[in-house]
Symmetry: C2
Subunit: 360 residues, 2 copies
């Protein structure tokens, strides 16, 4: 647990800005620089951690593109030649940050590397994992990249706050077997809503119905010719709430099928992330927004961080008692991280995509 | 004032469903049927009125299109062969509705004809005009098709409620010299916001700056090559509130220029109403909704009808004391109504388009 001088680390860097789908050559696994051996700077607190789990999340794709001047994003772009960063679970080896000591387990933003030095502003996002919870067999550490981390709070805030759901309402979730979608479906069902999910394979559709308790589910690839018709089959009376993870054609189909006063929580638009500017699918039936008085609300988890304790207190009993389940797709080893991230944009993962860096 | 038997009336009918821009041949002025001479049915209350002013409103265009099954609208389509309907100001000649008596002045939904029999459900929308206000030189009767009617309440609800404005925020209004836009700009200025409007001619741009108190204004036709750049010039720090009346390319440009946590009230999409399904301009930069956590809210005035008394009490002193002005473009005679409505979709009107049916 004590800090070792001369730690051997490896890291995954971005080799160049990505256009279209990310490919293996856009990332490279390299030996890490000697930065880890440097003593912590006195001027700003830092935390040296050993990374245990890394999270592959859709929002990482826009960060791989060349930034467009004037089009600010809520996260800054990755820099070619530099290490990728993302959510992860890690163990503290050295800390000059009050409240964190060697041995502590944390989740937050870390590097895609064996060891990371977490510095401001990311030190402020490190959340200490309750040692008691960390011992709970039903709450594996990897869950802090998912149901107990950013995707979990995203699903909770997005559904319970942004969607203003009421018992008995109809809910549609796209990318429904993903890190966030599988939770939104279960949260909606817990609230007494009727919930239908879309996913990209027969296997995922089965999971939605058998494991995650969606009332119905469909494979969007099989319904590609008439997504709107598919939604009309499952929602003959219309959709009260659309939890939007994909964008493009699915958003168009959803708009047509929304009920009056429907709500659309826009969490992500994964179908559009790998398209060049000119290829992005336009939403042409925006008139529905007026005729149906729809509310469309974009949101991101960091704005709602203060709700994490409330969320954790709510969800942990649900997990322990089996009312909410979570499915992960775990890749083993830092060397597998690029492939795992790439696979996310082709829908190869079944459940939340995690990379495990430890044998624990 | 008393009902005359054998009233001679004329009416404007829709001849056929409209595709593209409406043209003269889509409407026809015909002698009215003898329906006006029938005694009021006992079963449901009705009101015989003499129409004084008719309102030309953008929402009438979607009602002229062939209805698309499954794509419900909040108003039903016009029927070829039947009279057009819309907002108007009228005088009661005969009434079986409690609270309305011959001689009373009302505003609400009426027919595009000299005399109309208003029946349920539209009797419920008839609002009696306070006789004292009707005598006020500063509050002409035609204003009940505009600032004191549906467009006024639309601007009030849309800006004050849907946009959640705060003093000092930046506001962009499209179709800013129109019936609603000219009011939103003035309401925003009254609240202490910085407000910029777009319109389609040099004359309108001048009006926005000199008559309606917009801080800045621009001609969107002159900025067509780079609407986004135009917005960036006027809003170097970004737009807090976009009051959306036009849609299409302007919406795309606005999305790029919105500030984080910006709000877009979607009141109408006049740029899209005359385009066929396949021609509608898609919004391809929807990703801004997530990255900037935007709220986009469609709304229509009828949902907020209960706020009319509050609005009227607020706006009447502003009009009387000259803090809010209103500009109308008045066409004379029912025979001019089709041309006036057609002109609206080409931006020929300067100010709110009204048709006067009386010499009063």
């Amino acid at each position: 647990m004590a800090e070792k001088k001369g730690l051997k680390s490896r890291r995954v860097i971005l080799t160049e800005y990505v256009e279209g789908y990310p490919r293996e050559e856009h990332m490279e696994l390299l030996p890490a620089a000697a930065v880890l051996d440097r003593p912590a700077a006195e001027s700003s607190p830092s935390v040296l951690v050993k990374n245990l789990y890394l999270s592959c999340d859709p929002y990482m794709r826009p960060k791989m593109s060349r930034p467009i001047p004037g089009q600010s994003s809520y996260t800054s772009a990755f820099v070619p030649g530099s290490v990728l960063t993302g959510y992860g679970v890690a163990q503290v080896l050295r800390s000059s940050l009050p409240g964190l000591a060697p041995g502590d387990l944390v989740w937050g933003i870390t590097g895609w590397e064996d060891y990371s030095v977490v510095q401001p502003p990311f030190t402020g996002l490190l959340t200490k994992i309750d040692p008691e919870l960390a011992q709970d067999d039903k709450l594996p550490l990897s869950y802090y990249t998912g149901i107990l981390g950013m995707p979990g709070l995203t699903a909770y805030v997005g559904f319970h706050q942004i969607c203003s759901p009421k018992k008995g309402e109809t809910v549609f979730v796209s990318a429904a077997s993903g890190a966030v979608g599988q939770l939104v479906g279960q949260f909606a069902r817990l609230m007494g809503c009727y919930v239908v999910g879309s996913a990209g394979s027969k296997e995922k559709v089965e999971l939605l119905k058998t494991k995650f308790g969606f009332h119905e589910a469909f494979n969007y690839k099989e319904e590609d010719a008439d997504l709107s018709g598919a939604l009309r089959r499952f929602f003959p009376e219309g959709v009260d709430i659309y939890f939007e993870n994909v964008g493009g054609k699915m958003l168009e189909a959803a708009l047509v099928n929304m009920k009056t006063h429907g709500r659309i929580a826009v969490c992500g638009l994964i179908s559009q992330y790998n398209l060049a500017g000119g290829e992005k699918e336009g939403v042409s039936n925006f008139a529905c927004v007026v005729s149906k008085r729809l509310r469309i609300q974009g949101f991101i988890e960091p704005d709602h961080k203060h709700l994490y304790p409330e969320y954790a207190a709510w969800v942990v009993p649900h997990i322990r008692e089996g009312r909410v389940v979570y499915l992960e797709d775990v890749a083993d080893g830092l060397e597998m991280a690029p492939e795992a991230l790439i696979g996310l944009f082709h829908g190869r993962n079944v459940g939340k995509q995690v990379v495990r860096l430890t044998d624990e």
